[in-house]
Each structure stands twice: as structure tokens, then as C-alpha cells.
Amino acid sequence: MTKSKTKVKLLAPAGSMDCVTAAINAGADAIYFGVEQLNMRTRSSGGFSIGDIKEVVRICHASGVKAYLTLNTIMYDHDLRLLQLILKEAREQGIDAVIAADVSVFQQCMALGIPVHVSTQANISNLAAVEFYARFSDLVVLARELTFQQIAHITSEIKRKDIRGVSGEPMQVEIFVHGALCMAVSGKCYLSLHSQWASANRGACVQNCRRPYKVADAETGEELLIDNEYIMSPKDLCTIGILDQVIETGVDVLKIEGRSKGADYVFETTSCYKEAIASIEAGTYTPDKKTVWLNRLNAVYNRGFWEGYYAGHSTGEWTSTPGSSATEKKIYVAKGVKYYGKIGVGEFDIETGSLEQGDIVMLIGNAHGMVKMKLEPLMVNGQPSEKAKKGDKITIPVATKVAPGDKLYKITEANA
């Protein structure tokens, strides 16, 4: 295996502040996030507003992590003013790049001197497209439907022809390595618009593809449930087992999908891929490690995994379940009250369900992202205790500061 010369970077998704922190703690080189309604996750993620740009950029830069702003929906005339407001604020706060697909965004970014990354929504699938977009940007995210050979051809031709981006630096290439796939060529799906006027291209996708369908005989009305069940719902992309081949294609940035997922997903996916990249660079990428990573990735949100189109598979890797196949499930139990810093103890109010000493719990909060721990020892209403239930106040040793509003979840096996 040849080692890549320049270090490949890892880009993690963040749909909320706790995810930003989780991504940074897990070792992301950069994060991407969207604000207001001009990004592809307006329906599903809690959403940041313009006012949050400052804090996200500040947190990232304090840790030497880059912050990219996603503005990749189709744009209408009535959006242009908002776009301008967002971009002005982003520039003011020192955003590192904007991820865009519409030329109106390229134009405004160029006028403001903000670097542009061309979104996967532009479906870049060939070298000529890369050359074209090099006039406006320094990095392109390729379509998710290419093969390793196609990607390697693009990256090697960029080097051979010395294709440079608008900044004068060699054009960089980014591809997705993990997360949800679209049943249509990314960004070109109209199912949701067709069925419910909900435009996927405005981030309002209702995910018709993730449901089971029947076919009906138009003459007799007889219905068949399609035996493959979720025939339009692709499994999630997971390249942890073939990441050496991914890196060998010569790409510069590896991107994880999931701005609508939780901090646990962001932390686990980012840290697994970070470790895998380091192992490949150190020449210690072994099957045993792959198994461990795969188990960890399986524990958080997923629809089952396949290696996507990269290895040249035909379509047909459809999921067999309606939602996540994650092996672990998190159940909300308690909210954070305060932290006793001197003794390293956090106080929580149990709002629902119960906890037992020895339970594995997950703490999610803006300041620390995601932290997993074992409940040991457990103090209930000031007394050592084995169990705690709704209404109880518990105190437990926690390594990071607990803030009011932090959430404590119990981790169980998904089918327990």
C-alpha cells in the first residue's frame, strides 16, 4: 500500500452546538453546519441561526478546527437578501469556506472574498466540471455515485494538468465516506416534492424513499408487498473497511454525512474515521481494528451499511428496516442541574424512566459534546443508592462540567 503524501483531512457534520463540540473532541479537522433555511437540512436539524455563526466559528478556531457554512439549496430571488446577510456575517466571523451549489452563492462569496467549496448537490462527476468550477472555488465535493477509478482519474488529472482553484492553489477534492445515501443522484430527487410539495432541494425532504411500497395490479387491484421491502431506501455508506482504497484515490478531504444526527453519532463516526486514517498513515490498518470500528459505527444511527458505489457495485443494497439498525439505543432520562467542580460531581433531575448503578449513560451538552460513562457510584437524593426513578435528584462523578440543560441518556441494546 502506498502512503498518501499529503495528509487527508476529515470533515464532520454538526447540526447543533453539542455536535460541534463532539466533532472537535473526536478529532475532526473541520466541521460543516447550516444556518436559517438555506441549507439541505432545514426540516430535520434543530438548526442554527445567523447569530450562531460567531460562536460556532469561535469554538472551532479555538481548537484549530475549520468551520464551513453550508448554503447549498436552490436559491430563489426572495432568498438573495438573506443570503447576503448570512454571508456578510460569515465573513465577519472568519468562516473558512462556504459549501454551495448555486452560482448566486458563488458570485456573492467571490465578491466578499469567501472561499467556496462546490457542494455534492452540483453532482460533479467529471474532470471538465472540476475545471469549470475551479474558476469559482478551491475544492469540489464529488457526486457520491462515482467509482474509485473515476475518482482517481479526476485527482490524477488535476495534478497532471495542474488545475488550480480561484485562490491559485491546486484544486482539492472531497468525497463522502460515511452516512446516508440518496436514492436519486444526490440532490436530484423530486419524490418528496411530487408527493407533498416538500422540496428536497430546499431541505424539506419527507423521505418517501424510506418507506415500504406495494405494487398493485391495475386491472384486478391485487396488491403485492414488494418483497425487498424498502426498495427505494439505500443502506448507509460506510467505507471504514476500504478506507485505504478511498485514500489511494488521491482525495484531499473525507466527509461524513449527518447534520441531522445526534452528538453520539458525530462523535463515534468522527473518531472511528480519524483512527482509521491514522492507522493507514502509520501502516497499522488491520482487519481486527476494522471489526472494532464497525461495531462502534453499528452502535449509532445507521440503516445498515454498504460500501456505496465506490467499488463499482450495482444498486440494490436496500435497507430492510424502517429506521435505524443501530445496535445501541439511547433513552432520555435526566436533565443536568449543576456541577460541583471541586469534587467533580454532576447533579441531575430524573425526568422520565429510571437508572440503576452500573448503567452505561451518555451525557450530551454544548460544552463537552458527547461523553459516555458508567453510573458508579450513584447518589440518590443525597444517599448512596442502587436505583433512581422519575422525580429523584441524582449526583454522580462526571469528568466534564455539567451545565443546566445538558441531557443524560441511558444506553441499552437496541432490541433489549
Binding site: 433555511q37 432545514t42 437578501r81 410539495w197 431541505g203
Partner: protein, 73 residues
């Protein structure tokens, strides 16, 4: 008279309401969201009475807003 209600802060600015009935909805140049024309504003909620004769259109706009922030009572 029925009342049309828009919970505006969650609007994604897709413009469908405006296309269905431009007389009721204006796309704001300021923040790209739809605004209920002549709506009475309480925080981010806009309310406006619409004659019952328009029921079909009301139902349509309530049904078609992709993020379901338009209601009627």
C-alpha cells in the same frame, strides 16, 4: 370567518403558499420567509381572517406547506 394562522419562524421560504395565493402571502426580501399579508402579528405568529368562500384554497395551502406551519381554525 375562518382564521388562517402562520407560525412564521419555522418557514423555510419555499414559496409554495405565495404561488398558491399571492394575495395572501408575500415573500419577504428581508429574511426570505413568507409573510401573511395583513396578518395580525403576535411574536412570530401571524393571523388573518379569510372568508369561508375561500375554504378550498385555505385547505390547499394548509395541506401543501411542506413544514406544516400554516393552520386554520
Amino acid at each position: 370567518m375562518p382564521k388562517l394562522i402562520q407560525y412564521r419562524d419555522k418557514c423555510i421560504g419555499c414559496g409554495i403558499c405565495h404561488q398558491l395565493q399571492p394575495a395572501w402571502w408575500r415573500m419577504s426580501k428581508r429574511d426570505g420567509k413568507a409573510t401573511l399579508v395583513k396578518g395580525e402579528k403576535k411574536n412570530q405568529t401571524y393571523v388573518r381572517e379569510i372568508p369561508l368562500i375561500e375554504e378550498e384554497l385555505i385547505r390547499r395551502v394548509v395541506r401543501d406547506c411542506p413544514v406544516h406551519i400554516i393552520k386554520w381554525v
